[in-house]
Every structure is written in C-alpha cells, then in structure tokens.
Symmetry: C2
Subunit: 287 residues, 2 copies
C-alpha cells in the first residue's frame, strides 16, 4: 500500500520510522524543508520524496502538521488526493480540523478521518523522531457518521503496526472535551506553575511532586498556542473550573478552616482513587 506522510517533524518522522520498521508499505514523504526530506530519505525513514502531485498515488495520507496548516494544505491541494483514498491527520484538536477538511474532501470522494496519536516528547523536529515513540500509547480515531467502517479498521490496524497500545474512538467533540482536560490543561497548569518568584530560590527543595507538576512546562509555544485556540471553549471551561477550585482551597486556608480544608482534600483524594480504578479498568478492556 502507498502511504504519504505530510510533515516530517517529531510525529510525522516517527510515523514513517515505525511504519518502515514494522510494515512493508511504500512510504512517501513530503515536507516544506528540503533538507528534512533528504535526511528522511537517507536515513531510510521514507522510500521516496514526493511533491503534492505525488499524493495522487497514495492510498492513505497522514497530515502531521499544526491544525491551521492541515486545513490550509487540504484546501490548497484538495484536487491532488486520490478519490476513494483515506486522509487522516495527527494533530491534537479534532473538531476544528475534521469539520473543515471533511467539508472540502467529502464532495471529492476522499475520506477524511481525524486521528490523534497521543504521544510526544519535550523536543520537536525530525531529528528527535523514533520508531518506538508510540509504544503503548493511545491512538484516538474520531470518525463521523459517514466514515466507512473499513477506514476505521484500516487505521486501527496501522496503529497496531506503529506500536500503539490501544485504539479509542470518539466523536471529534468528545475528543476535544477530553483532551482539554487530560492534556491541554496539564500543559497550561504546568507552564503557570513555574511562574512563581520562588522558582529560582528553591533549588535543593525540589522533590518528585515538583518535578511531576512542572515537567511539561517545557513546551513548544507555537504548537500549543495553536492547539489551545482551536479548542478554546473546552479549554476555557477547564481553566475556569480549576481556577474556581483553587480559590476554594485558598479561601479555606485563609479562613483557617481546617474542617473545610480536609473535606476539600478528601474529596480530591477520593476522586483520584475512583478515577484510577476506572482508568485501570479501561486499560484492561483495551477497546
């Protein structure tokens, strides 16, 4: 099968390497940066460098770009995709991308299905891509009502080949709501955490909890600002929720109200314990 990967950064590069390692498909690469294309070819991550015209040979195309760039690319090259072929993407917001791309491609008989490989590193670019980046991770597919069952099956089988540990399907909207909570909020909170003036005085006092809370503060601001604004409503809901909750702890502490503080903390602990069980159960089920 002919697979085109557009955008050979951390994710696109890792997709190429994982597919080359674990399948015998023909992998074609396209990137705005010619040097990156050359590097991908020389390292054996792709079999062939293509231009947009080459997309017509692809049975499947994966767009590994930022959300706005995915939509621009699809609008600009809509006539290049092969009718009947599957086009998917890898970005972290789905409703924004799926709505716009489906609107353009569906009338042309090209099947757009959003997907989101939930993996990343603190570094970006092809140089950091690896053939095992997706090992054990979740691959989320966001089909619409018109998505053929076989397209979902094909994507989830390719996900197995790339090393993902499980596939989850959700509507684009549900994906965005969940991801605002589990991933986007984590990045905002972590990035906000390090803004205390105490940061540069506290060396020697950092234990596991501090390292955990601040690990993802080191983020790519170009990618994340784009993802945040494409999922504005859901992320604002989560931000307002955590701000309101933090104010409750602040007020209980300010009032020296130990009973109330204990109740709030207990409630948080119990939610965490309950969700640990739920998430572990989900992991066992392996959808």
């Amino acid at each position: 099968m002919e697979i085109a990967i557009v955008g050979l950064g951390l994710i696109g590069g890792s997709v190429c390497k994982a597919l080359k390692k674990n399948t015998f498909h023909h992998i074609m690469g396209l990137d705005a940066d010619g040097e990156v294309c050359r590097k991908a070819l020389d390292s054996g991550a792709i079999d062939e460098i293509i231009t947009a015209d080459g997309l017509n040979d692809a049975d499947m195309t994966m767009l590994c770009l930022y959300p706005e760039t995915i939509v621009e690319f699809v609008r600009q090259h809509k006539d290049k995709f092969k009718p009947g072929s599957i086009v998917t993407d890898s970005c972290g917001v789905k409703e924004y991308v799926v709505t716009r791309c489906t609107e353009v491609l569906e009338p042309l008989g090209v099947i757009f299905v959003g997907s989101h490989p939930m993996a990343g590193r603190e570094f970006s670019g092809f140089d950091y891509s690896t053939d095992d980046l997706f090992k054990g991770a979740s691959y989320i597919i966001t089909p619409s009502e018109n998505t053929p069952k076989m397209a979902i099956d094909l994507l989830s089988t390719l996900a197995c080949c790339m090393g993902f540990g499980k596939v989850v399907t959700a509507t684009p909207k549900q994906h965005d709501i969940n991801i605002a909570f589990t991933s986007q909020l984590a990045h905002v909170v972590s990035n906000a955490y390090v803004k205390s003036p105490s940061l540069f005085n506290a060396d020697g006092f950092s234990a596991g909890s501090f390292m955990d809370l601040t690990r993802v503060a080191k983020l790519n601001e170009y990618m994340w600002s784009s993802l945040f604004l494409c999922n504005k409503e859901a992320l604002l809901f989560e931000l307002n929720t955590i701000i309101d909750n933090l104010c409750e702890y602040r007020d209980a502490i300010g009032d020296d109200d130990i009973e109330r503080l204990r109740d709030i903390l207990r409630d948080g602990r119990e939610r965490k314990e309950k969700s640990n069980e739920l998430y572990a159960e989900h992991a066992r089920r392996k959808v």
Copy 2:
C-alpha cells in the same frame, strides 16, 4: 549512641529501619499505638519499646509526628529529654515547630534542631515504611543562630547513614517559603486538578502529562491540612500567584490573542529550562 524515635508511622518507621540497617546505634521506639510498637520490635526495626520516661536515655530524639502533635508532645514531656541531647523532628513545616519547641527546650539545655526528610509515599503507616525510603532524597536541616555546629554535623552524618543523597541547610522561614512552592502547592494543584466533571469521562485519553499532574492528588488529608495551615502565609502567596497566572492564560485564550498566549507560554518554557539548569547545577554541587 541511643536514639529515640517518637511516632512509628511511614517516616518514623523508615528512619528506624534505615538506622538499624546502616548503623549499630541502639534504637528506641515510642508510639501511641501499642500494636505498632510491638510490630516494630518484632520486625527488628527497633531494639526497645520505651515510654516518655525512656527519653532521658536518648542522646538524640526524632519526633516523627504532625506539627501540632510535635509541639504538644514537647510541651507535655519537656522534662523527660536529657539535657545536652539533640531533639529533632521530621515534619514538613519548620518555623511553626522550631519556634515553639526551641522556646520550651532551650531553657532546659536541650538542643532542638528542625529537620525535614523530603520523602514520602502515597501510603501512610508503619506497614509501608522501608529501610530505603530516603535513598537519594534531600534532608533539610533548619538550624537557628544558637545551634551548635556539631549538632548539624551529627544530623547530616546520620542522614548519610539513612541513605539521603544530600543535605541542605536553610532557616526555618526560608524552608517554609521554598516548600510552599515545591511541595505544598503541588499537592493543592494536583488535588484541584481532578475536580473537573471531565474526570470520569476521559478514560482512554490520559497520557503522561495527566498522570504527572494528578499523581499526588491522592494525599493524606489529615497530614496535609495540618501542614498547609501551619504554613499559611507562604502557601497563600503561592496559591494567589498561580491563580493570577492561570487567569492570564485564560484571558489570552478568551481574547483569541495568539501573540500574547505565545509570549506567556514562551516565558514559562524559558523559566522551566533555566531552573532545570540551576537545579541540576545544585545537584552536582551536593551541599
């Protein structure tokens, strides 16, 4: 040397086990729960069960209790401690404890030095104590102006025996300011994070960032509410700081202001990178 450990919970129990494993000192244990004392003796974690009267034999006493209980214990048994002996504690706030205990013990010729073994687990109680809980962790000593140098040297040498990776000294006030940021804030934020209604819908969407941000949400609400209220001023400062900062992200996202959002995120990333360097440099120095 005769060492008394008061409070045989997770920390007290681990101190006993680490000292028994790595020194030939005589370890005496005291706990309000007779069954725990018996268990500690039977498992070889202590050499002897004592009552408060036994403290008079101790060259060093470590109080492994909650802050208020430490102060109560010292006030109640102040005449039991051997003049010239060292009394230290293990709790996570220092000014509250050091001020009160020093006030009581100094006139009696007993040397009180606050300390804080920066280690813990998600579980409490003697049953979870281990002889390697402190491996590589920081041991913080908070001497006052009157603390004899030799008392600090003795505590830091015992810290080596217990497996700590380094010793940091700080004033009680500086300790509390730093710990509000690196540890207490982390526990509040993590506990607040899980309070979104999205928590129970997002199974299958949790990646590393979510797990990191919410790990310490599972906390002991009795211990932490006590620690928070004993360090009210510093923690309120950190809470207000992160709430204000989170509002900035929220406003930039609400206003669709991508330039501003990128600037805020970049600033956070740069602070995190800079502090990583600083903290790594500190770790290399090993005070």
